[in-house]
Amino acid sequence: MLELRNVSKVVGGKTHLSDISLKLEHGTLNVLLGPTLAGKTSLMRIMAGLDVPTSGSLWFDGQDITGVPVQKRSVAMVYQQFINYPAFTVYENIASPMRVAGIDSATIDREVRKTAELLKLTPYLDRTPLNLSGGQQQRTALARAIVKNAKLVLLDEPLANLDYKLREELRAELPKLFAASGAIFVYATTEPSEALLLGGNTATLSEGRITQFGQTIDVFRQPADLITAQTFADPPLNIITIEKKEDLFHLPGDITFAVPADWRGMEDGSYVLGFQPHHLSFGPSEKDLFAMRAKVIASEITGSESYIHLAFANTRWAMLAHGIHELNAGEIVELTLDPRHLMIFDASGKSVTPRQKLAA
């Protein structure tokens, strides 16, 4: 188990990481999700032993490894750029960590061929990386990380420079590769959809802090606070500030909704409502649904679905609707929202848990 205890990193007066505590188990895939400059790479460098935290400590299987340099740890890393030895063949690239470790050639040969097969690199073993496509180059780098048999494998946006479709394919394969090895995998990404496809656990990062850590789908469905919900939403989370007074939510523009039963216990005051774009639907109000009107800014068709950019009382919302909806800008549309999918955050940004979930 890799454990980070209150790790902070300050560089030149700027806080890159602040008070991070994490426990990562063997054989798990852990996603670090956050926008550029949230601290993902800084955190990985500390996990790898390339940097030392300004304060706090790192523990691996009960041993303090805070100051131990990277050469003495069992770590493999894959970067966004495809980093291979340009003069070596794919075979020698994959073999290189084992050669350094002084493993006999027969074992090396067996391991290289096995890993190459797993990553569909067998036909290219005799080529040099520069004669390969980007996807194949990154597979080579991944293969090298896997044969190293490290206890900790760090992947820093490994698919960011690949084509969309290739990314989709590798994303599906990676969790299988990880599951087999028993190492701790840490995977940094800026894309919420990538975290969801990978599954495993997710830690959301914002401005150098971990805002939540847990099973990926749980973090997505039940974010602990507004920042987490916003970090973990693509398209962006729709939000609106409301006032709760007794049994009513007051929205801008004199719209009121009856507070759903689950939320009745909330104190009066100012709150932020949040909901995912696919939870908005068209149509006249039905019982127990929130109904409102918004102005269309633009609509985009993805083939089977439509993204509609909306303006509602000075805020911008996105809506993801099934089917083809070509709407003209400026058009007013009727929308409904099922309150079951609401997320409510208090003035400090913390999530307010509905009564029903408290009971469960």
Binding site: V11, L50, D51, G67, P69
Partner: protein, 288 residues
Amino acid sequence: MDKTWNNKAWFMVLPVLLLVAFSAVIPLMTVVNYSVQDTFGNNQFFWAGTEWYAEMLHSERFHAALLRNLFFSFIILAIEVPLGILIALNMPRKGWGVPVCLVLMSLPLLIPWNVVGTIWQVFGRVDIGLLGRTLSMLGINYNYVQNPLHAWVTVIVMDVWHWTSLVVLLCYAGLVSIPDAFYQAAKIDGASRWAVFRYIQLPKMNRVLLIAVLLRFMDSFMIYTEPFVVTGGGPGNSTTFLSIDLVKMAVGQFDLGPAAAMSIIYFLIILALSWVFYTVMTNYDAER
């Protein structure tokens, strides 16, 4: 502490520390020692305090040499930097021409100073030198031994020939790191050749230019071998730069005290001027 530490790393830097101690610190201290004492031979030393420094700072001979040095460095920078940029801009970016140009550019850099001096000394001779003969056939009475202007021109041409390549190579490295998209965008924006240079190439080169200017300044300020070999500081004192004067004083006249004081002053001037260059250029860079 930012990086993980490794005790072995200290062993790695130990040889460098020792080398620096032997090559720089110890000699420097020896010089400091000489500069505050007087000696009449026989290893007899008398405390002289700052006397030599005061003498040096008021010596007209020193002032004249210093002025010559400043003027020389100024001319060298004024010629080599623009010329280097111009050549770098016109070098091919791809194809077989690249290695050819790079090798041609590196050649002068590989030749030792005194050999450069000897080459040009022979080259400039009126009786057998290619340059000297050509000039005299053209009716120019070229004689660096007697004409101070000719002597200066010879030393400057020598230095330009020897060192412009360094500026070229540094600028070229800066230029090739500019992505193609910048040139394409400039074409689309209808930018002139000058605008491309002013707004794309120069800003991308300014870091390497800083290094080039610093290196060329320090080196040209310490010029010794070429004038020593070719002109010997003459005619008269016209090419007697600080370094040549220093050697004359220390070796020729055996005035160790004043020579040591002069060395220290010389050293401090180079340090101070380099620092000024560096700060001015990095500040300029940061402001933009």
